[in-house]
Symmetry: C2
Subunit: 499 residues, 2 copies
């Protein structure tokens, strides 16, 4: 096996133009979140490339059996801690991407490690119950204590599964079953339906559609992929359902300077959406939307837009599905990002995954299955991942939700500072936007964006790209103002050297 390289404290100085303590970005705000004891103080880059020589060798070896062109570097979980990820070569990076937004408590959080060492956790890991038929004794009580404590108002039931794609796929099935059952008048299936469905023909497998929005991302399996509209490379050569796509507002920034234009843009998108629902040749059973289009480039719309969209869904008898797979679990400053909209009429279905570890969706009572086994699969989620969600939820709720307040304080500080930087470096960054620490900005071109992401990695920061020219921040919930300050110092030092 591998021989691990010891991290050396010696820093290759030309690789790390870190100016800690310079405090270019005003006073660092206080956070109510207790600091993690024993966290690294700062990034340390000890190889001249990332991946370094050990990583390169291992990645080459992996390339004989798997795709490797998408790999950033290899993670040494044993040595990573808090907001700092350690790679195969002993480099320490500040991680503001966190495995595409799916690491809520950072690395090796003491509460998580403690919980996973228990007898309960080991047994849940050892056995994957067929949850739909043979759940573990604590499954129900744990669901009540965890997921149902954060269920959106009125969404009284929860379906669990493996990941975001599967959550959305099952949400679509649920929406279609609800839609057809209404039209069938809650009557039994007809013989014609029963026979035709086995041939994939209507009326049994009906011609129905799920509407999604330009630049949306809802997953990669064939149903989910039919609603994903972020990038051609995801979709090319794969059969898709002939489902409609509606425009999503392309807001202009800063928002306060484009109030009228943005309102008109949102009105245009709403009007076009309703037009599609009313005229689409394949009836629209449901629509799905992200509170912030993440993969598509962190595209936002106003709460007013979403309230009106929800009304359009309601008025037209279309299931309103909110995809919180990337936005959920506190990163935007609310537990669910859609809570910011101030809806009177809650969504019908809300899907989740990533930071929650356990995936699935909440739904209203009227979306309940009319017969057993309609939505079902072998594992139907994973109680080990529910146990992890319990740890995450406990951490979020500690000390009067100090972690959630930390997200807002850190997010505001980071966003304000990035806006200052955007004024100073307008040729490199624009349109800083976000909620909580769920922040992004645009570069003028994809090349500039990629230069920034690559250059800052060699200065000790793992940062994410999204959309065509956006950079996204997806730090953990333990990302505090001091980490933001450290990031900002490294970031300015990095971009100031770019043309």
């Amino acid at each position: 096996m591998l021989q691990k390289q010891k991290t050396t404290k010696k820093i290759v100085s030309q690789q790390l133009p870190l100016i800690l303590g310079k405090r270019a970005f005003g006073n660092i705000p206080k956070t109510p979140l207790k600091p993690l004891e024993g966290e690294f103080e700062k990034p340390e880059i000890i190889t001249s490339t990332i991946p370094g020589p050990i990583g390169k060798r291992l990645i080459e070896d992996l390339g004989r059996i798997q795709e490797i062109r998408t790999i950033h570097f290899l993670v040494d979980f044993d040595r990573s801690f808090g907001n700092y990820v350690v790679d195969s070569d002993g480099n320490v990076l500040l991680d503001v991407f966190c495995h595409i937004s799916s690491l809520p408590l950072g690395y090796n959080h003491p509460s998580m490690i403690k919980a996973l060492r228990t007898r309960d956790a080991v047994q849940l890991a050892a056995h994957r119950p067929a949850l739909g038929s043979l759940p573990n004794v604590s499954w129900g009580p744990k669901l009540h204590e965890t997921l149902m404590k954060v269920a959106p108002e009125g969404l009284t039931r929860v379906f669990t599964c493996a990941n975001g794609s599967e959550a959305n796929e099952n949400a679509y099935k649920t929406a279609c079953m609800w839609y057809v059952n209404q039209r069938r008048g809650n009557k039994p299936f007809t013989d014609e339906e029963i026979q035709s469905c086995m041939l994939n023909k209507p009326p049994g497998t009906p011609s129905l559609s799920i509407l999604s929005f330009e630049k949306a991302f809802h997953g990669r399996t064939l149903g989910a992929l039919s609603t994903t509209r972020s990038k051609p490379i995801h979709k090319l050569d794969v059969p898709a359902f002939d489902w409609p796509v509606a425009p999503f507002p392309q807001l202009k920034y800063p928002l306060d300077q484009f109030v009228k234009e943005n309102a008109e843009e949102e009105a245009r998108c709403l009007s076009r959406t309703e037009e599609i629902i009313k005229s689409n040749k394949i009836p629209v059973a449901g629509m799905i939307i992200e509170p912030i289009q993440a993969e598509g480039g962190d595209r936002h719309a106003s709460p007013d837009f979403f309230r009106k969209l929800r009304k359009i869904a309601r008025d037209n008898g279309v299931a309103f599905i909110v995809d919180e797979v990337q936005t959920g679990v506190a990163a935007t400053g609310n537990f669910w990002a859609f809570q910011k909209w101030g809806l009177d009429d809650q969504p019908d279905i809300v899907t989740f995954s990533k930071k929650s570890q356990i995936a699935g969706f909440f739904h209203r009572e009227e979306y309940k299955m009319t017969a057993p086994y309609r939505n079902y699969n072998t594992w139907m989620g994973d109680p080990l991942r529910l146990l992890q969600f319990e740890v995450i939820l406990n951490e979020i709720n500690k000390d009067d939700q100090a972690m959630l307040r930390n997200v807002n304080i850190t997010g505001n500080y980071l966003q304000d500072s990035l806006k200052e930087l955007a004024k100073k470096y307008p040729h490199l960054m624009k349109d800083v936007r976000g909620d909580g620490t769920f922040i992004a900005f645009d570069s003028p071109t994809v090349e500039t964006r990629n230069s920034i992401v690559n250059a800052i990695k060699l200065n000790g920061v793992e940062l994410g790209a999204c959309g065509d020219q956006s950079i996204r921040f997806r730090p953990s919930l333990v990302f505090a103002p001091k980490h933001a300050s450290q990031f900002l110092d490294i970031f300015e030092s990095t971009i100031s050297k770019l043309k």
Copy 2:
């Protein structure tokens, strides 16, 4: 929380007509597999219903938030061991269903528990890496040491993911990408393809199909479900791709009495399959088939059928996908069930999940992605589940594959004994069939089948149903002749009381 009820040794005698030691089924064969120390000696049923009162209360409570009509009982993992599952009320049942074939080493196998208590396992559980971009350092070496050691010949690469549905969905995408790329002459995507795919239109999202077989089961997400043909309740009201279905042989038993009829039936199915491929209005890019149709009722076909089918796929340029989700990992007496076919020309893609814990598919070199991010998702599997697969593989390989030999010895004994019983109780059971311990028989009606499954549960056996009137055996790989003997005693005692 729950107060656990202590298992009492007192058995409600009228509930358990167990005649251990009677040895109605000849000499119990010897197995090379070492017995599990500390396993229960026999089932113990202490409540008059299953679920008992504790289970009923908990299930009712779960029913407020999830579907419960599909629940058999609640599992107490802490007290279950080996082949015996303990429920919420302290009942001990011999488990020959094993969470729909997904528990290869039974409950609390010492090697599995030991492995999951290690620092490595706890850290892999704590962090779900984005494996496509930021894999853990040991990911590549572990893949080489585990999955690649059992990769079918010529299938040099592996794609990992969450479960069987996702494995098949990604296999379909891979087949379609391969199919289109060939026709495109390995040239870059055209502008028309790039633009049309974002609207879910051809040529970018092409009109292509995946052929599957009557009674097939390949999963529940929309792509997978379009190939699933086992039961209407899985498909009703859910949109499906207009993909073709071919007949699967309906063999007559006993096989040696229907050689000619069965050969004709297989020839008919093959000929019809080729006809569909040649004439289907939507081109067939791939076909998928289970070595034994499991959910559809344990339907078998001969090795000759599969060899000819593979040739049809090859001759017509159709990707040949074998779904080993339920049949894989040693239960049929070969590591992969399809190995029994004696193919000269291996499948193009083989999918796996369930017993392997880690899911995914093996594929040939020529099915490699032509560009990064074509098949990708956030988690792309789970290194914790790969660690479990390593434990399972080590156990299978111990003592010159004693576990695999055990499966064959136990399976033959169980199947022969069931055939004897079928002669004695022809009004209750027929068509005993199987490979290894992957065995099934049919009841004359769905009602009889359900009576047997329900009655035997109260006598201490958890048994599975499949198809319309089949009973399936899906025990763990530690199910030994003595367990089979115990099962047979309870089984005969149960059915002898049925009409």
